[in-house]
Subunit: 280 residues, 6 copies
């Protein structure tokens, strides 16, 4: 169960309305790595967790905090939209500033949402659960979380550079700092698990069941060998169980495929067009 | 430019048709972490890369290999679908095995794709580029890649357990081993970058611009303190720049929000219903 | 079966082209509550109706009228797009008006649709049947319809304020009036059904099968008790079968959940990381 | 800000695992009218609300309760999935019960989610924010909410009939009762607003700006006049401002449309194929 | 404007209910090439048509007929769903036939649609306007239409083979015949346009503006030269303006790309990791 | 397997950055008929092909070439985005040119993709596999391919007119010429197949199983008889097996549908509201 406190986690009041930036800030709310994504991702990972209670608790703590970030961004966006203009080509032509605003804002903010935030990204793409990840394997999922906080912080720093409003910058500086914490946190949680498992997910799949002879090969499948210059091309593998080996070109272990003809009830290209002989 | 060789990277011929498993294998081809996702993710990261040539080359090498995996899976799925049945309730009722197959397969494999693989997941959801990530920041993106290979290997090991066909298991053992390599590889590439930058993405955003006083705080926002037992709750932060601090409960820095009334041309709830006083 | 008459239900000729407004008007055609949504929603409800013939006929009448609205809007949009500009940054920089038009229009109108209307919303999101509702229960669906006409009329009034073109305003005034009728109509149909059933959908689910002791409770789950001031917080319930009761805080009837460990073939976080004890 | 309590709002433990029903129950969690939809719908309406504080508080209370329902359903689904089988055609053929389970469950529950709940519906369609509504006009939105609770309760009663497990039925009886409350509650809130405004949304758009002569007409656009038998076809309109009038056939106020030729730079069908004459 | 007649264009009453086939038939209603797609595709092409009136009339005629097909399929599906079962694993285990039905049907037909047809495909993917095409160029669009009728007839013939119900087969034989007509019709319309234009769309783009030296080259970009055996590899081109030429391997006209470094405000991978030298 | 060469198939370097045109060019990369669509469409058709090897080889050749086009466009877009501005309303107001650029560009290019190309269209809709087609029937699919190349060339010619940059025009002239080839090529492949089959897809479905009496009828279902003036309205059918016949109005072969009542466990509109009598 949840309980809601009216106070925001941090201030969310801009110095002035700015519908152009309101549109851009939607990415941090409802984009692929916006706050809706991380809150629901962590909560679902928590609810589904069959592992030690401290991981479930961690996930619930942070997922719950991210809900507060959704709230802060929704509030900020609504205020950036105060008195946002509506208009057509005539309105745009009369005043270059208004024209620029009409071009740069998302008109759905006025027409559909009545000057409210939307669960959508910069371009008005509705948020989708295709964005989120909860696999039941914590090491896999904490890597997803570390990525989400990395992409998220990156986007918010770009947004920080895009705005001139000190009050908006102030709120963003709070979100950036929290993402610093959350990257540190997932990094710490990953370190704990990797110390007990191994770095390869899932660690408990028996290694002898995989095709071990190709488990540390690097295939150079594009022209040039610049890729030979990296740590991944030679030396002990990161999991400590093999040696990286660089192949200057790929290896084909398989044959040229040839499929059997389709049965009649499928009505594919007719048999007198395709050759008679069966699959080799 | 690309060039196509007819040989498959590895064998992709099942012992026997199996439309039920053909459906399941679609997840590894066209699901969120299937081979279409990783091939296009790495290729887009490579094409967009503004960094050192070795990273671009690495991305093109591996993205090109993943295209070969798409091909192997498409071929295997088409063969698993050989002579897949079509039928209605009467067909299903006559023979329990056929009934089970009709229930467990994806009928679009017959009706839409003519016994061919589809760019879709287990449930017939078409593949979408919402799944992929290319931010221009390599450390962020390599974390996305490590996650993708972790989720992907996890799903393929589950599929390995789901099939009884030794020839299918053999192909999956190859894909599992390649994912072992790719997890090792991204881990190595991440280590290289973290050694030069710092662990927090983006590393070049000036730390003094973030709200540093909250950059290492853990807020316990759910009942109980199990989350205090983790590495993230105390000690030096992973980036070496701070100390983790555990707060037994959250802190509200912001006020209770109250929005200004909407202008008349938006036709929100009318003014005589909402109170007269302006935003505090 | 349908028959098409060439005459439009109402005039759809603007005073002048206006690609910026053409984009905005797409919301009324292909948005969540645009005319494609209501026409297909009513038609599907009609085709699926297993109830009295007058309701089926009502749905077919109105669904068929909405097809005429789709047609009017498509025609108006195509005319607003007459000679819409194409151009790049150089074109935009030369003439501020053209620059504003290029910023405010949807370039797909030129590049993809050849100056035609699209089955999409303001932001070019393709129309999706996720928007529509047909449950087989008429009272539920008429509420969906009343909502659709309410949201739709609201959006069209906002569009009315956004345009300066009297001919466009004239067409919108027709659509607004029809939405007035359709709100009245669904209100009337709902009143008929509620008089025979009860207000709670579905009315024929036996009340003794629901957990009746919580059927009229209001749980205050957010700080403050402003919500106590409403009709929903005390007094006879609207269905006449209970008394509203206000709880100053929520009630937890359930336990703290704890899930069983995952079986081995799922390769979740390994067992030596999760605790041994079984679910309580 | 939110705070999370570990106790569930109600019990969520089935008598036995049942992966087939786990799939079905996903509709109540992540379908169009599942709990994710109502929780985010109410929270966004609340965050965006520019009206009286009691409505915002109401929305936050109920949106917060719905988060607890998401949690209950996620927990129940995870438990229904305990030890869910994986398998191919051979597995299905060996045991008719296992075959039926493999056919009726969602294999993503095992392969993707590791026996966890997913933010998706019965057919594995990811939840999308296209489902939700927040317009800034409370009367419009409360109608959306009443519809959502009506569709939601309807679906849960059907699920109640689909399961034989008394513990699952018990949890559903709780959700059904809460939906009874929520239908009553939105009904009450709507009554409050309609008493102050009028029934037509938005009430503050000046009626003289709409095409009033068609604001109460019913057009019979399908064969037969069964639709004449309803309250909507005659008598005082529900808003008290007009008289319903039934037209046995539709009226075309507009002309036959004819569009202007496309400019050359659009490369539509060439001019020597289309007629020379300009638009009438 | 449209008018609706109550009679169906053709009979749509099955011999017996069959929820498994109801699911499959959804592909013909709401799949990529189902009747919703062709009806809306033709209507939008008609509404947007700026060409000769006979083409607009043709499109409106056929688009209107396809609406009748939507109606027939919706009716047939609703009847196939009569008394469709609901149930869980226990229900499925008791009776193998019921188990097979629960596995092979779409449970949303019962839980969401109340035994009605849905605007969705076999797998419950909602219909999306991403499926349809209206470009303003009739030759391009008539090719889209010919393809749609080809894919559509192919799918319906496969469905014909999948059902054992003579009454369902009878309705499908009607739809198959209409698709025969529609393929003939678009073929005829295409022939008319190609006779006046040329086969290359758009015919009015000046040929001297394209890179004519590569306009008839075939590049063999995959191993082996089986592709040399086709009409496309040699001889006069189909447009009569060139000669096909077969290149045994591809030609690279461009350089190796190298992108400029990103500006600082984008926070991509930092400059000390990427090389100093500017784009060549 | 694939191999990647570093050289681009053609030059992809603009004369100057232009973020507005970068957005527009996305349509050719990630739109419905962009290069991602054709490359994956041809590759999937090839992988799934059960017909003569020359068709599979043809599909692999061209699919592989289209991957090179994806690469060229991604490179061009990244360069058009060099130093693209970020900014809010204040930035836009200061400089009308910058304001126009902020309005006309896709801000995700900066905020999300770090000045890289995206797998998305003009409006930022992510590419989806809903766009592509692979049915197993080559004649059907080659028609889809001819359509794709027609729509694609049409869009690129419009983009050609939209840009003033000679270097961009040069690259587009290459793509336009390749589309000329590909239209010719599919036309040739279609001619080969039609010469061996018949024009109606699928050609091997026995004609006596379709409702032959309606297989060449044209139903005039919209007012006016302009559609009578076409080749499709009279004369020998294009498949040579019938005579086109023009009906001045549609024919209804079916009855007025009436559905059976829903069973109780579905909780549709209750029985005392719907009439007692059974379906006629």
């Amino acid at each position: 169960m949840f309980f809601h406190m009216k106070e925001l986690q941090y201030h969310a009041k801009p110095s002035r309305p700015d519908p152009i930036f309101a549109r851009q800030l939607q990415e941090a709310l409802g984009g692929q790595f916006g706050e809706i994504s991380v809150s629901l991702q962590y909560l679902f990972q928590g609810w589904n967790s069959r592992a030690d209670a401290k991981y479930r608790d961690l996930l619930m703590d942070v997922g719950t905090e991210e809900l507060a970030h959704v709230e802060m961004l929704a509030t900020m966006i609504a205020r950036l939209l105060d008195n946002a203009p509506v208009g057509d080509q005539e309105t745009a032509a009369k005043d270059p500033i208004v024209g620029a605003v009409l071009g740069g804002m998302n008109p759905q903010h006025a027409i559909v949402a009545g000057l409210g935030a939307m669960p959508a990204d910069i371009n008005g793409n509705s948020w989708t659960a295709d964005y989120i990840i909860a696999s039941g394997n914590l090491l896999a999922d904490f890597r997803a979380n570390l990525n989400a906080e990395s992409q998220g912080r990156l986007q918010v720093t770009r947004l920080y550079k895009a705005t001139n409003d000190p009050a908006v910058k102030d709120m963003l500086s709070f979100l950036i700092a929290r993402d610093t914490m959350h990257q540190n946190m997932w990094k710490a949680a990953i370190a704990e698990l990797e110390a007990q498992e191994n770095i390869v997910v899932p660690s408990i799949f028996p290694r002898e069941l995989e095709k071990q002879e190709v488990a540390y090969d690097f295939y150079n499948l594009s022209e040039g060998e610049e890729s030979r210059r990296g740590r991944w091309a030679s030396g002990r593998s990161m999991d400590g169980l093999g040696e990286f080996k660089y192949y200057p070109q790929g290896v084909a272990y398989g044959d040229k495929p040839k499929l059997s003809p389709a049965p009649d009830y499928i009505f594919n290209t007719p048999p007198w067009i395709r050759p008679k002989k069966k699959e080799e």
